[in-house]
Symmetry: C2
Subunit: 400 residues, 2 copies
Amino acid sequence: MVSLEEKFLKLGVNNAPGQEMKTDINVTNKSMLVDFSHGDVDAFKPIPRSLEKFNEGFYLGGKQAYTEYKGKKTIRDDISEKISRFTNTQIESDKNLIITSGTQGALFLAMGSTISKNDKVAIMEPDYFANRKIAEFFDADIFSIQLDYFGVETGAGINLNQLEESFKKGVKLFLLSNPNNPTGIMYSSIEIKNIAKLAQQYNVTIIIDQLYARQVFDKREYIHLCAQREIDPENIISIMGPSKTESLSGFRLGVAFGSSKIIQRMEKLQAIVSLRASGYNQTVLDLWFSEPEEWLKERIKKHQLIRDDLVSKFKLYNDIFDVRATEAGSYLFPKITKFNTTMLNEFIEKLRTQENIIVTPGTEFGKQFKNSFRINFSQDHQSAVDAVGRLIELAKEYSK
Amino acid sequence: MVSLEEKFLKLGVNNAPGQEMKTDINVTNKSMLVDFSHGDVDAFKPIPRSLEKFNEGFYLGGKQAYTEYKGKKTIRDDISEKISRFTNTQIESDKNLIITSGTQGALFLAMGSTISKNDKVAIMEPDYFANRKIAEFFDADIFSIQLDYFGVETGAGINLNQLEESFKKGVKLFLLSNPNNPTGIMYSSIEIKNIAKLAQQYNVTIIIDQLYARQVFDKREYIHLCAQREIDPENIISIMGPSKTESLSGFRLGVAFGSSKIIQRMEKLQAIVSLRASGYNQTVLDLWFSEPEEWLKERIKKHQLIRDDLVSKFKLYNDIFDVRATEAGSYLFPKITKFNTTMLNEFIEKLRTQENIIVTPGTEFGKQFKNSFRINFSQDHQSAVDAVGRLIELAKEYSK
């Protein structure tokens, strides 16, 4: 049995995105910091009127401060309707949806409600680093499923044989993000259907993180797992929130929707984890999915243009970098093919100290990604382009 | 082994304070609802300028939205200094303090960082209901320690023999609230010293919830466990927050301070539970312990006056009620001596439907408290007095 001591030794935060400020460093380059570890909400500001909405919530007083643990009913009603429309499913606000403290909160509650010690969990690699950490916290047994994102041209490249093998071995929960974090690649319609079929066949619960499902590029269609007829809706929890595309991360708001049984457990768990998402903050959700008409389109377009510029820059040096263009969301996950497996950490440190640029090491997303790093390009366009220019120069030096 | 199914069946929320609105009921009495399950932040409003502070935080933009997981450094520095002064201890902001999503968040993280399956935990009875629920969620073995709050005139009446027995049997964590929730009674200086000595002797970690430590009546002195020389500070986590006396519950802010080892674990755990307390909200902590000079005094005085009126009312009917006057905080925990053990639930339901009054059943604080109920009297003074008048009338009817 893993002792609590060992468990917390493994549970690191120092390389996690947003924690880099903890390291005392002496930055020699005086260019402005470009922090690719998360989006810049000063470059892409929160939904218009967010602050006013919060103020309205505050003035509602006690009834807004003390909502039900799963969130205020009128707000749940409104979101349930909007998300039903977005996903083309039927979400009943009283039993299929909970408001949480960010999507991180939703993920923790969903996992805490579905797994315990020695339960078998399938996790994609690469995928959001917290998936694995939460599974380890609950002492689950992890089955890694590989994503061959460089090996396919359409779809994410999920190894479905490996997935089925893990299901055969007794996996009860399968976790994935779509678009995939950190690659920004979307699962194809066929992949989603196959995942749905397998989960149904082996009675596996799926938790799917759809955080970036609204920021899709190149007029692609987003395929909702929860809308697939092949799978019982009671076997799925989907997670969304306004922290990324909508830049509301400072409010810590998220939702989970789907299986009534799991939502009910999540409410019970939230009651002991944090009671509820901050009451006044919940009010801001009124604006979500109700943004000014052109605002969202414009935002997606701007991100697509940044992606285009960064991807072209990397592709100019395809002797050094492998990069697959983001299909949705704000992540790029370049691989430096010229590096041996020990060079990346030093490179990332030099980037930080010499160039004032922060990126997230690939190893946060799976220990085999020793040559990759993640960039969140939701940044000021020119700053991002300049920073990637400097990053490439440094990589060239290192690759000599 | 307890299955996840059984675990979540036990983990109820329907009787938890603040959840009563979930029950569809037909209230016949048209008096205004008096909800004694939690404080009324419309009667006692948040610290002046709270909303302005939040707005300042929002305008700080990205650097306030994405703080370190344990909270923004400048805010931690400020609070650490204030709490060091309040408790007469040395709290270093970089290692001894974390900002959490409410004190509920602090409690969950502290327990998740100190116990796992089959660890032995001592819990007071009565005490805050979530203590037991969190311990059960982590599959801990619970030792109940009795509080004979009616049997003593000074102090809380903790059974120290029982506590030492539990420590001898291998308890590694002891949880308590001071002032005690739900009775509003404070542990005496001698009790605190004895607890500290025993914990030191048997190397037991203590988590102490001091949520109401600033709202002390009758010029009593609050005794800080963390300031006792008898115990190694590394063995204590103290929890405080501005949700009660200061009425900031709608912002979901709390802090835990003490043991550097446990604080470090709590940060790691918070990173996967909810990332951080909402960034903008953290700004509001600047006001905490810096309230306008007379504001806090006035607030405490007003609560003491409500307590006086309610306690006198109950004491007029000492053939029906046993009540011990609150020493700190806003809770009263009257016992209806005339009821047999099956009458309370019906009484509480009648109170709700006939009188539009909500109280919390004693059984939430320990299953033996079948004749007691908790009142949070942080309410409009006259409404509270009227409601208790109606409550007494109903109890008289039932006691015939």
